[in-house]
Amino acid sequence: MSASALKSPRSAHELRRIITSQIGWALCGIGLLLVIAPLLDIVGVVAWRGLSAFSWHLFTENTTGPNGGLLNAIEGTLLITLFAMLIAIPLGVGAGIHLSEYGKNRLGSVIRFMSDTLTGTPSIVLGYFSYIVMIIGFGWGFSLIAAAITLAILIVPYLARITELSLQQVPNTMREAAYALGAKDSTVVFKVVLPAAASGVITGALLALAISVGETAPLIYTAGWSNYGWSGHFTHSPVGYLTYVIWTFIDQPDAKSHALAFAAAFLVMMVVLAINIGVRLTVRRTKFN
């Protein structure tokens, strides 16, 4: 392994040190294997059972009870995610702009701390909050908008911090040059800083998208569930989503439901992994976790 290990051992003591080292390396290797093997198993099991349940009617039929396809759930997941992103991107990017450009003060650190606190808040707490406040309190019922807002609360702080990080990587000389030309604050941000940091911000948005697609706990009591496609109403109309299928249908006793659960899990996992792998391959040097 290393230079010292290759020399012939001179004493029992040294031999023991070398053996200890070899055992140590072996244990570390086993550690890595034990970390990666479950991932491969999860992907393998979900892909195998998900793919064997695959057929075109998954994409063309609605769920009827525990049977049918996944069209309604796919559409619901897309819509919830879309509206969550529509709400979260302006808020998160705006907040990130403030933190990066004008937030190097006490207020900025307070916002940063609270933002991290919100990120660390268990998602079921947010789900509970939304249920009592929006679903019951505002009387919206299970609805697209409540689900989207709940997810947005979850991802805005995340987007804000990523935006902040990306904007900070833009050299200050660029800002100074723009201001020297007499540019306004908004011009500096939108024409100079944001375009320079675009890849970072888009990366953040994509990762946030991946989070939204995979969330379950905040949706159980906000989105509800529907066997049909979206009704076109933002309130008083429950929507289906893929992660619901995973967690409820695996509890059904029949093989058909299990197949649907695995097919849904396969879809969700593929989207999440594809986004994350794609992002990591394109932006290999930047770490956003």
Binding site: G31, L32, V35, L91, M114, S186, A217, I250, N276, K287
Partner: protein, 307 residues
């Protein structure tokens, strides 16, 4: 001073984050107020969670209406949460250390990004998929080979699933730190005649210890609040403290997710308020843990800069 509408606008947007957080906390505090008053400190120390007899008339206790026999104690869920997270940490830390050290020191820099990406990808797998895998693979394994009564649902299954979910957090934190250890520190340890493994354990690990602990605490924060995966494999223990690795448990988060609907059938609404109190407890536990992680990580930075 000149009025700057753009700055004000983005300031307004960023203030929405603290506003949302305050709204959540304030709501939880106000909504659970009556329950806090009714439960007192017994809430945290009692084993029995009893929604009360909803098919008889509510009774008035200490001035508030509750179903007769209602008693809200969450010790079982607190213990379930702490036990499953602690065991998860016990499993995850050695694995993560082994994986990170191996990646940092043995694997060639060419393959390292691929393997470290695989490790990081574990962290992004949705928790409901972990739960699905837990039900389909892990629970039958435990039930078949380990559990004395043949039931795989319980503390061990929950802990292993949690451990898998948090290992990458610890591993990638540690890997980053190890890769940042200055060349001189490594080389001077080699010069003293240390084996490569001794360089890692005796010279490098002490330098990154604070970062490692920061990563562990961060992972703990994630484990404590995890809902879906635990809900799916924990066996839903109620009214009884776990006595072995195979005992069914409930965690605070999984219990809130599982009980909200039952609570809604309480015409006095006290059980919903009690659930709100649970959510508040969970919030403060994770807040405390995450604040610790933050303190540790800023501390670590300072140490590294000085070194």
């Amino acid at each position: 001073m000149k009025l700057r509408p753009f700055r004000l606008a983005v300031l307004g947007l960023s203030l929405l984050i603290p506003a949302a957080l305050c709204a959540v906390v304030l709501f939880l505090v106000i909504y659970s107020g009556q329950a806090i008053f009714f439960n007192g400190l017994h809430f945290l120390t009692q084993i029995s969670w009893n929604l009360g007899d909803m098919y008889s008339d509510p009774v008035t206790v200490r001035g508030v209406q509750v179903p007769s026999g209602a008693n809200y104690g969450i010790l079982v869920f607190i213990v379930g949460t702490l036990a499953s997270s602690a065991i998860a940490i016990l499993i995850a830390v050695p694995l993560a250390m082994g994986a990170a050290i191996f990646l940092a020191e043995v694997v060639s820099p060419k393959i390292r990004p691929i393997l470290s990406m695989l490790v990081e990808l574990i962290a992004v797998v949705p928790s409901v998929v972990f739960g699905l895998w837990g039900i389909a693979v892990l629970v039958p394994l435990i039930g078949h080979y380990l559990a004395p009564n043949g039931s795989g649902y319980g503390l061990l299954a929950a802990s292993i699933v949690l451990a898998l979910m948090i290992t990458p957090i610890i591993a990638s934190t540690l890997l980053d730190a190890l890769l940042q250890v200055p060349r001189e520190n490594r080389e001077s340890a080699f010069a003293l005649g240390a084996t490569h493994f001794e360089v890692v354990t005796k010279a490098m690990m002490p330098m990154v210890r604070t970062t490692l602990i920061g990563g562990i605490v961060l992972a703990l924060g994630r484990a404590l609040g995890e809902t879906m995966a635990v809900l799916m494999v924990s066996g839903g223990g109620l009214n009884i403290l776990p006595t072995s690795l195979f005992s069914p448990i409930s965690t605070i988060a999984s219990f809130v997710a599982g009980q909200l609907d039952s609570a809604q059938t309480d015409s006095t609404n006290m059980s919903v308020r009690a659930l709100s109190e649970i959510a508040l407890v969970l919030f403060f536990i994770t807040l405390g843990v995450n604040a610790c992680a933050k303190l540790l990580s800023t501390g670590a930075l300072r140490v590294r800069k000085r070194a």
